[in-house]
């Protein structure tokens, strides 16, 4: 029991550690910029990305606008639920991105 407890505590600590968050954010950036994955630059200006499109708003100051990361997960999962008219593809619903990939991209968005 104590051993298990200790392991669980370590895992928790790790998840919250800045090192891991950083690497998740880096993965998220890769996924966001990858043309075969998020390809978010097709529509959004994002710091560090080349040849952005103009269909969506620039992605910046995301923490201030969406302090709750669940909101970002929801936007990525299926933005048509907030706005049926949106151009933004339903990345989660249509399985363009997995749950883990969405989570990594949200980590990245929170650094913007």
């Amino acid at each position: 029991m104590p051993v298990l407890f200790l392991l669980a505590a370590m895992a928790n600590g790790l998840a919250a550690s800045p090192v891991l968050a950083q690497s998740a954010a880096a993965d998220g950036q890769k996924l966001a910029f990858d043309r075969g994955k998020g390809n978010c630059l097709t529509c959004h200006v994002i710091k560090g990305g080349d040849l952005p499109g103009t269909i969506g708003p620039e992605l910046k100051d995301i923490q201030a606008k969406y302090p709750d990361r669940n909101e970002l997960v929801a936007i990525l999962f299926d933005e048509t639920r907030r706005n049926p008219q949106t151009m933004m593809p339903p990345f989660g619903r249509n399985r363009i991105l997995t749950e883990q990939e969405i989570s990594a991209i949200v980590d990245f968005l929170q650094t913007l």
């Binding site: 097709t42 952005p52 269909i55 706005n83 049926p84 008219q85 151009m87 249509n94 399985r95």
Partner: protein
């Protein structure tokens, strides 16, 4: 950005969302009234882009961006479709092995008639496009059909468009329920979302013309076929209407149809009819 407006109110009021939906669709869907549809369609673009001269919409992305337009006008001094145009002219004049020519298959010897295609053929009960009519002409004269997407087909349609430049698009919808159904089906295809990305043709060419998608500027749907066929640097060559439809579908991870599938014929009928009055400008050149 219309989407943003809907977003602001979206969670508050269902009625407002419904309003945003109908207003963005441009066209009311209850009864088939192509003339009213065409008027609403044109007015939508005229009002959205009041600074664009009406006849300029046929220039696709160039009508949306002054810098690009300047570069293009310089390019027009040595147009990249010149080669295809010359080839098309020669092919058009060269008899088939049976001695007949393309001219024998078309009204007015095929000269200056691009603005009347596609048309609804009441015998067949379907839409007939220029590309289809050209291959039918070949087959009726014992020649093998050409690929619909490029090369010879692009050359022939380039020449036929060139002899029709400046003529206003003039598509008729005969008083025949099948013709109205074809128009409706084309319209439905155009506005229906499909594929993994969940885009409709209208997402890009009605909701977002003038916006950049990556580095490309989206053409407005109004007059979007008037400059066909087109030379594109990305293709390093010419492409037909068929090629563009297939490319738009597959680039957005939707399953493309066969060239000249019924629905593509219908969508061409719809897009051409709502462009009535705008000049033929083909062949075109694009970045």
């Amino acid at each position: 950005m219309k989407g943003r407006i809907a977003l602001l109110f979206g969670s508050v009021s269902v009625a407002l969302v419904a309003f945003a939906l109908t207003s963005a669709r441009v066209i009311a869907a209850d009864k088939v009234d192509p003339a009213a549809d065409a008027k609403a369609f044109q007015n939508f673009f005229f009002q959205k882009f009041p600074e664009v001269k009406h006849e300029d919409f046929v220039n696709g992305p160039y009508s949306m961006n002054a810098d690009m337009k300047r570069q293009w006008q310089e390019k027009e001094e040595f147009p990249p479709y010149e080669f295809a145009l010359e080839a098309g002219k020669e092919m058009f004049a060269t008899p088939f092995r049976n001695g007949k020519t393309y001219a024998d298959c078309f009204p007015n010897g095929g000269i200056g008639i691009r603005q009347n295609y596609p048309y609804f053929d009441q015998k067949e009960g379907k839409v007939v496009t220029l590309e289809l009519a050209l291959n039918r002409c070949r087959e009726a004269n014992g020649e093998a059909p050409y690929s619909y997407v490029k090369d010879e087909m692009a050359s022939l349609t380039a020449y036929m468009a060139f002899t029709s430049r400046g003529k206003p698009m003039d598509i008729e919808i005969p008083d025949d329920p099948r013709a109205l159904a074809a128009f409706e089906s084309g319209k439905r295809y155009f506005y229906t979302r499909r594929g993994q990305m969940n885009f409709s043709c209208a997402s890009c060419h009605v909701e977002s013309p003038g916006e950049r998608i990556r580095a490309e500027i989206l053409a407005p749907a109004l007059g979007i076929l008037n400059a066909m066929p087109i030379y594109r640097s990305e293709w390093s060559g010419m492409g037909t209407i068929s090629r563009r439809f297939v490319t738009c579908n597959s680039q957005t991870r939707a399953v493309p149809l066969e060239p000249q599938a019924d629905e593509y014929r219908d969508v061409e009928y719809f897009l051409s009819y709502v462009a009535n009055g705008l000049p033929i400008a083909g062949p075109g050149a694009r970045p």
